[in-house]
Structure formats: structure tokens, C-alpha cells
């Protein structure tokens, strides 16, 4: 959310990955649209119920359709960035991924290509230090992800991912560089994993209880409330009203999506090729 609001949905391109629900909302997807995907309904705007939820796509919003393999969007974003550079209108491509994806060859190929051609791309790594159960020390050699930018001669920036304002600023600075022809930036946002990888996973089995408690204390949502309250932009009453409004909207979106029809089985073979 902090990253996308520093950019220009409608003008920029977004290669989101399958954890980016908040980013998708920031790109213009509605809660109901996200729930339509969760229920795999025909009206799911990303894929009409074909993909697992989280593979966002919308041509009119500039959100490039995702997939479920790890990392292929990274060199693809470099290619999109090349086309945007050729077009010369100052738009950029934002691509996000977890730290696990930085082990893939596609990560290095994408950074290398984008750096060679100074493509307007923001590589945004959400590093929660765990790829399911594999910790960063068994995943990422060297000090971290941001340092890898040096190998490609591009800026590498590490920010606290739970600090909305720090992330926003880092992305804003990267956007200025991209739009002015100064090429790509790699941002490593160190984020928390407050919950298990999936409903099938219980991270208490492999993560230290003290570490989990420390992360819970850094939950960015209460910290955002604090920051807004301190600036006088939010009081307890507004906060309660906002929460109630969000809950109502989630309930409404869930009900509407659940009531929406499934894809017609006769459409199974559509859109394999242009003519079918």
C-alpha cells in the first residue's frame, strides 16, 4: 500500500505477486473483486475464476496478469520497462516478490537486463525472512537482498517494511530516478510475517516464540494508528468508525461475491487462442 500510493496507477505498470492483496487494492481493485477471485466466480476480473486468488491482472489498470511460479515476473518487468523506455512517456514498471524469489535465476537475469538498458523498473522485494519454513540464512547468501543491487551497478535500498512512510519515500525516490531516465532501483523492504504461510502451515512449529511475540509488537497497523493520532489526523472515534466501515465493506463484498455465479462449464475451452 505504501509503495503503490507513491506511484501512478493508470499510468504505470504493476507486476504484482500473489501475496499483494493490499497492493491490488491500491491499484484499484475493489474488495468485492478480490472476494470474487477468492470464490473463483465468473466475474473475477483477473481470471474469471481460473487462477487461485492473488494472481491479479487488469489491463485497464495496468496490472499485468500474474501466475503462481516464483520469480518469472522479474525479467518480464524488465521487458515491460524496456518498452516503456522506448515509448518515452515517463511511466515505469513496479515489480514485487519475496526474498525466496531472489534465489531464482530470473531475479538475476531481470536485474541484469534492466540495469544494462537502464529500464524504468522498481524491483520491490518484500523480505519477511521466511520462505514458508526456510529462513533467510539458508536462502540468501551475503548480508541481504539490497546489497545484490551493487553487482548490477544500480541503487539498492533497505527500508523497514513496517514503516509506511519510509517505504513510501523509498519508492518515491526510485520513481523519480526511473521517470527521469536514471534506470532501475532495487528496494528491500524488511517486513513481518505475523501469520503462518498458509492455513496449512503453523509457523509456531519452526519459529521461535519470542521472535513471533517481538514481531507482533511491531504490527504496522497499530503503529500507523499511533502515527496518525500523533499528527492529529485520527481520533479514537474516527478509528472506530473506520474499522466498522471496513468490516461492513468486507462483509458486503463477501456476501456479494458468494452470491455471484460460478463460471459456466461450457467456457472451459475459451481463450486458449485468439479464435476460441
Amino acid at each position: 500500500m505504501a509503495a503503490i500510493t507513491a506511484l501512478d496507477p493508470g499510468r504505470d505498470r504493476f507486476c504484482l505477486y500473489y501475496r499483494n492483496f493490499a497492493a491490488a487494492l491500491a491499484c484499484g481493485f475493489t474488495p468485492e473483486e478480490l472476494m470474487l477471485a477468492a470464490f473463483a466466480r465468473a466475474a473475477d476480473p483477473s481470471s474469471g475464476g481460473r487462477q487461485t486468488p492473488g494472481n491479479f491482472g487488469s489491463r485497464r489498470r495496468g496490472v499485468i496478469i500474474g501466475s503462481s511460479t516464483v520469480g518469472p515476473q522479474i525479467p518480464k518487468a524488465a521487458g515491460i520497462g524496456l518498452a516503456l523506455k522506448w515509448r518515452g512517456e515517463g511511466s515505469l514498471c513496479y515489480v514485487s516478490f519475496g526474498e525466496g524469489a531472489t534465489s531464482q535465476g530470473d531475479f538475476h537475469e531481470g536485474l541484469n537486463f534492466a540495469a544494462i538498458h537502464q529500464c524504468p523498473v522498481i524491483f520491490f522485494c518484500e523480505n519477511n525472512h521466511w520462505a514458508i519454513s526456510v529462513p533467510q540464512r539458508l536462502q540468501v547468501a551475503g548480508p541481504g537482498v539490497a546489497e545484490r543491487a551493487a553487482a548490477y551497478g544500480i541503487p539498492g535500498v533497505r527500508v523497514r517494511g513496517d514503516d509506511f512512510f519510509a517505504v513510501h519515500q523509498a519508492v518515491q525516490e526510485a520513481a523519480v530516478r526511473a521517470r527521469s531516465g536514471e534506470g532501475p532501483t532495487l528496494i528491500e523492504a524488511e517486513v513481518l510475517r505475523l501469520q503462518s504461510h498458509s492455513t496449512d502451515d503453523d509457523q509456531r512449529a519452526y519459529r521461535d516464540a519470542a521472535e513471533l511475540a517481538a514481531e507482533a509488537a511491531r504490527d504496522p497497523i497499530p503503529r500507523m494508528r499511533e502515527a496518525l493520532t500523533k499528527r492529529g489526523w485520527l481520533n479514537d472515534e474516527d478509528d472506530a468508525a473506520l474499522r466498522e466501515e471496513v468490516n461492513r465493506e468486507v462483509e458486503r463484498a463477501t456476501d456479494a461475491a458468494e452470491a455471484s455465479p460460478d463460471p459456466d462449464p461450457s467456457t472451459l475451452g475459451r481463450h486458449v487462442y485468439a479464435d476460441v
Partner: protein, 330 residues
């Protein structure tokens, strides 16, 4: 009609040149395609004519060649990517199979990815294990891809022009042994275009149908000429496009001959010829006087370097003639 005398590789280059002239969205990318004009000269002179942006030398990283082509296609360009050898397309396999092929389907038609990936394919040029493979079956297995494998200069040019204009991703495999094997009069411009998905009857016959493609077209035609001397007339069909393939032309021929062999250069097991054989057995059962037969390369990992081993691996007119005779005499 204006014509030019061309080898297959020159015809490929002409198709690229003409399509780049015709439509400024068409661009070429790959290793050594620019300054050098391609290791087989398939892109010779293109960078001088169209510049280093539209004819882009890529890093030696096949996955990003496919991925960058995809990114360009998603932004409305019509990229033609070159994989230096089909053997080296495997590092790009995830990009091709999971990304490019499925863009249209997984977005429910919101996105499309019109691009061409060209690659020299097949053996017989002392290329050994990693410059000789015939990987068409991998790509034919994938809904969302089209696969073309021409065998003459005119087909190469006409089908490549059609592939570049096609709204879906096309894997375009060029038999490297045929790059300079023959010259042919090839039409210039629009008259050259040939539609995807259409087979051609290379030689007519009444006793036996041989379905083939790529370099095996010429080998099968030579074998058919030998059988003709013994009074066995083989109808030879060159598929030209493998996905979609022209089933009807094959069925019509088998209804006439009652016998069919599929001749292909790839490893026998799971080769695309196995799919052709299965489909034709199902469609033509009532017309058949003999089992559907496959004549293919042995199931060894790849083509060896040593001339004696390469010769042992490759199909040739003798081996194909033997296989065809067995079907004719069954």
C-alpha cells in the same frame, strides 16, 4: 510475381526484413542477432537497416530472452526472439510454458502475448548432444502455443510471416540441416504468406501414406522414390505446422492408401509423431490395412558427436525405406 532465389536461412531473413518494413511494431531480439547477424546469419543486415533498438543483442540468458520478449508483447510490440539453438530453449521453458502460453487463458482473454520464438532445430550437422535436439514435442504439448516446423525456403518465409502476424505465441523451429541445403524461388511480399495449420502433399501415391515434417520431408521423399522403383507408391505429406496440425489432409490420404507411417527425427518415445500416430489410428481405424507405424530416432539421450554415432542415430533414406516397406508389406 516477383521472386527471389533463396536458401531456407535467407528466406527466414527475408521474412523478418519484410515484416519489419511492413510493421514498425516488429522487433528482433536474441544472442548475436545484431552486430553479427545471427550465428546462422538469419538476421544478417537487420540491425544496419533497422537499428540497435529494433534488433537487440541480448545477454546470454534464455529465460530473460523469452521474458523480455513477453514484456514487449504485453506492451503492444511484435517481438521475434531467437534462441540460438532449440536445445538452449530449456532454460526459458518456464517462461514459455507457464507464462507466455498461458497469458491469454489465465487472464480470461484480458491479455494476449503475440510473439514468435525462432530456434534452429534438429541434427545431422555434427552438432552433437547440445546442438542437434528436436524438442518440438515439449512445445506441441502446450495449449496456447502454436508450433511451426517448415522444410523449404518458401514455407519458411511464408509461415514465418504468418507467425509474426498471428495473435498468439508461435514456436518456430527451423531445421538447421536445411538452412543452406537447397535454393528455391521464393515470392516477395504479400504473395509469400502461407497460412499456419496447412499440410502439403509432397508426393502422391496410392499404396501407403508417410506423414512427416522438417528435415525428414526430404529423407522420406528419397525413400519414397526408391520404393517407387519396386512399384510401391508412397504419398508423402509434410505437415509444416505441428500445432495445430492438418489432420484432415492425412485422413483423406489414409482413406485412399489404407496404410500410414509417421516419420520424425526426434526420439521415438513421446515424440510428436506418437501423437500423430495415435490420432490417426483413432480417426482412420476402419480404413487401415496395417498398424500405424512410427519411424523415428532411437531413445538415446541425444545425438552423439562422433560421425559413426551420429550416422547410427540419424534416420536416412535407407532406414526410412526399410520402415516404409514393412508397412507396405504388412
Amino acid at each position: 510475381m516477383p521472386m527471389s532465389d533463396r536458401t531456407l536461412v535467407q528466406a527466414v531473413r527475408d521474412a523478418l526484413y519484410e515484416e519489419m518494413e511492413r510493421d514498425d511494431r516488429v522487433c528482433v531480439l536474441g544472442q548475436d542477432v545484431g552486430l553479427k547477424g545471427g550465428v546462422f546469419k538469419a538476421t544478417e543486415g537487420l540491425q544496419q537497416r533497422f537499428g540497435a533498438q529494433r534488433v537487440l543483442d541480448m545477454p546470454l540468458a534464455e529465460s530473460s530472452i523469452a521474458a523480455v520478449a513477453q514484456g514487449l508483447a504485453l506492451e503492444g510490440l511484435l517481438p521475434v526472439a531467437e534462441m540460438q539453438f532449440a536445445d538452449y530453449s530449456y532454460p526459458a521453458f518456464n517462461q514459455i510454458v507457464n507464462e507466455i502460453a498461458k497469458v491469454r487463458y489465465r487472464s480470461n482473454g484480458d491479455f494476449s502475448c503475440p510473439l514468435v520464438i525462432r530456434a534452429p532445430t534438429g541434427g545431422g550437422v555434427r552438432g552433437a548432444l547440445y546442438h542437434s535436439q528436436s524438442p518440438e514435442a515439449f512445445y506441441c504439448h502446450v495449449p496456447g502455443l502454436k508450433v511451426v516446423l517448415p522444410s523449404t525456403p518458401a514455407d519458411a518465409k511464408g509461415l514465418l510471416k504468418a507467425a509474426i502476424r498471428d495473435p498468439d505465441p508461435v514456436i518456430f523451429l527451423e531445421p538447421k540441416k536445411l538452412y543452406r541445403a537447397e535454393r528455391q524461388d521464393v515470392a516477395d511480399g504479400e504473395a509469400a504468406v502461407r497460412p499456419l495449420g496447412s499440410a502439403t502433399v509432397v508426393r502422391e501415391g496410392v499404396d501407403l501414406t508417410a506423414v512427416t515434417y522438417g528435415y525428414m520431408r526430404a529423407v522420406t521423399a528419397q525413400a519414397a522414390a526408391r520404393l517407387s522403383q519396386d512399384g510401391i507408391e508412397v504419398e508423402v505429406i509434410d505437415l509444416r505446422t505441428l500445432r495445430p496440425w492438418d489432420i484432415e489432409t492425412c485422413v483423406r490420404s489414409i482413406e485412399k492408401t489404407g496404410r500410414v507411417a509417421v516419420v520424425y527425427e526426434a526420439n521415438r518415445t513421446g515424440g510428436f509423431g506418437a501423437e500423430i500416430a495415435a490420432e490417426l489410428a483413432e480417426r482412420c481405424f476402419a480404413s487401415l490395412d496395417a498398424p500405424v507405424s512410427r519411424i523415428a530416432s532411437p531413445d538415446v539421450p541425444a545425438m552423439p558427436f562422433s560421425p559413426s554415432l551420429e550416422h547410427a542415430f540419424m534416420l536416412n533414406p535407407d532406414k526410412v525405406a526399410d520402415g516404409l516397406r514393412r508397412v507396405a508389406r504388412y
